[in-house]
Subunit: 318 residues, 2 copies
Amino acid sequence: MGEFELISHYFAAAPCAQGGEGVALGIGDDCALLDLPAGEQLAISTDTLVAGVHFPDACDPLLLGQRALAVAVSDLAAMGATAIAFTLALTLPDVGRNWLAGFAEGLGRMAGRCAISLIGGDTTRGPLSITVTVFGRVPTGQALRRSGAQPGDLLCVGGDLGNAAGALPLVLGQRSAPADVAQPLLDHYWAPLPQLRLGEQLRGLASAALDISDGLLADCGHIAKASGVALQVDQAQVPVSAALLALLGRDAALHAALTGGDDYVLAFTAPQAALASLVQPYHVIGRVLPGKGVVLRDEHGQDITPQQRGYQHFGQTV
Amino acid sequence: MGEFELISHYFAAAPCAQGGEGVALGIGDDCALLDLPAGEQLAISTDTLVAGVHFPDACDPLLLGQRALAVAVSDLAAMGATAIAFTLALTLPDVGRNWLAGFAEGLGRMAGRCAISLIGGDTTRGPLSITVTVFGRVPTGQALRRSGAQPGDLLCVGGDLGNAAGALPLVLGQRSAPADVAQPLLDHYWAPLPQLRLGEQLRGLASAALDISDGLLADCGHIAKASGVALQVDQAQVPVSAALLALLGRDAALHAALTGGDDYVLAFTAPQAALASLVQPYHVIGRVLPGKGVVLRDEHGQDITPQQRGYQHFGQTV
C-alpha cells in the first residue's frame, strides 16, 4: 500500500467519515451514494484553496482544515440548504503525519459543527491544494437564489462584517494586537461558522441571498445584477465588531466591512413583513430599489460612490 | 471583472454547461441544483490530475480536457450509474487563451460523448491541477459494489487491457511507433471512453464491479478483498489489442495488460447464467473461488505468482 493510499485509509477512519443522514455509501468504492428525500433537490458547490494564494504555506493545518470546509459549506447556507456530505480532493507535496493529523482534526471539528459527513475524495502528490465539494438538500423550488430581489424589499446581513479582512494582516504576521482584539478576528478568519440555520429559516422568506465572499459591495452587486434591481446600502447600519473597531478605528473598520472578502456571512433581501418570523439574528442595512447597481449612503443620507468595490485576493496582498 | 472570473464566464458559456436532464440549476449561483428521480440514488466520485504527476506539463490541453473528465466519469460506469453532471475545479498558473480554448474543447467533446453537463466549479491561480467531481443516478440498491463477488461467478472485463500502459512511453516521447500502432494506443490513453452503457446493463446482473485504474491484478485484488473471495485470472484469456501486440510483443503486452494502470475498462463478476442477457461486448478472463487474493494461471493451467501487482504512477516513471 502506497503512502497516499494510506492517507485515504486515514481519512476513511475519521469520525466525520462514518456516515450520516442521507449517506447510503461512504468512502471505499468507486463512488459514494447519497439518498435524497422525495420533494428535495441536491445543492452542490466546489471551492479550491491553494497554498500561497488562499492561505500561507506555513499555516496551522488544524485551522486550515476548519477553514477549507467552512468556506465551502457557507455556499450551502447561502442556498438555504441543509448540509449532508462533502468530498475532499487533497494534493500534498509530501506526507507529514503531524500535518495530516492536524488537518483531519480541523476538518472533523468543522464537520461536526455543520453536521456534514466526509464521503470520498482523492489524495494526490503535488503542490499543496485543497478542493472541497459540498452537498446539501433543499425542498424543491425553495433554494435561495440571487435573482429574486424586488424593489421595496429590505437588504439584510446575518452578522458583523469585515472581521476576516481585519484579521488578514494578523494572519500574515504584518501586525499584532492584544489577544482580546486579535483572537475574535483570527477565529472568524480561520473558522467562519457557516450560517446554515439562518439559511434554512430564510427558505420561502428571503427573495434573494448569497454568502459574502467577495466583499459586501461586490456581492450586493451580484444580487443587483441577477435580480435586475438596485441595492442601497446605508453605511451607518453596517454592523462591525468591537474587535474590528478596536483594531482599525471607525473609518478603516467600515472600509473593511464594505469591501473586505471572506466574511462568509449571509446577505439577503426580503419583504419587511416576512422578516417578522425570522428567529435568527440579522441586521437591516439597506433596501432594494428600481434601477441597477449598488448605491452607498453615508451617515447623512447622501449617496457616495464606493471607491473600491473589489476584493484583494490573499495572493495579491503578499 | 478579474481574469479568473472571466474564465468562469468562459466555461459557463460552453455548450456542455447549458444544462441537461436532472440539472435544475447550473453555473452562476452559490450552488448548482440537481433533481433526482424517485427511487434513485446519487453516485458521486472525485478525481484530481496534477501536472507533472498525472500528465506532462506541456501536453495538448484538448487531450487533457478529454482525459480529465473521462477518468472521473469511468467511476460512474463502474457503479452502474447514468451520468448527469460534473463540477470542475481548475487551478492554473496563468490565463492562456489558447490553452483554455483547447481544454474547454476537449472537456466539451468528452461531456458530449458521456451526456454529462458542467454545473459549476472554481477557478483559482496556482500550479496546474484539475479536480473533477462527477454525479450520476442509479436505481436505489442497484449500484455495482466491489463486495458482492461469489465463488462460482465468472470474472470478466469490458475490453482490451494494457493500452494505456503501452501508450505511456509514446506520451512521454520515450519511444515512437508507426501511426497505425501509436494512434490507437494514444487515443485510448487520452480519451478512454467510460463504459457507461456496459455499467448500466450490469445493474442487477453483476455481483461486483469496478473500473481498472490501478492495473488488472491490483484491481482484482480490491474485489477479492471487498468480497472475501479469491479471483483466478487466466492469463491466456486476457484481451490485448493488435496495436499493443505490435508495439510490445506478446510477453510485454501481457505484462502491460496485467499490471498497467489507467485502462478505465470495467472488470466485473457475475453468475454465468446472468451473462447471457448482456448485449455489450465482454471477455471472460477467470472465475471467483473461495479463499482470498488473486491467482494468475498461465497458458498451461499452472498457477503463477504475479511478480508485480503494482501500478507505476506517471510521476514515478519520469
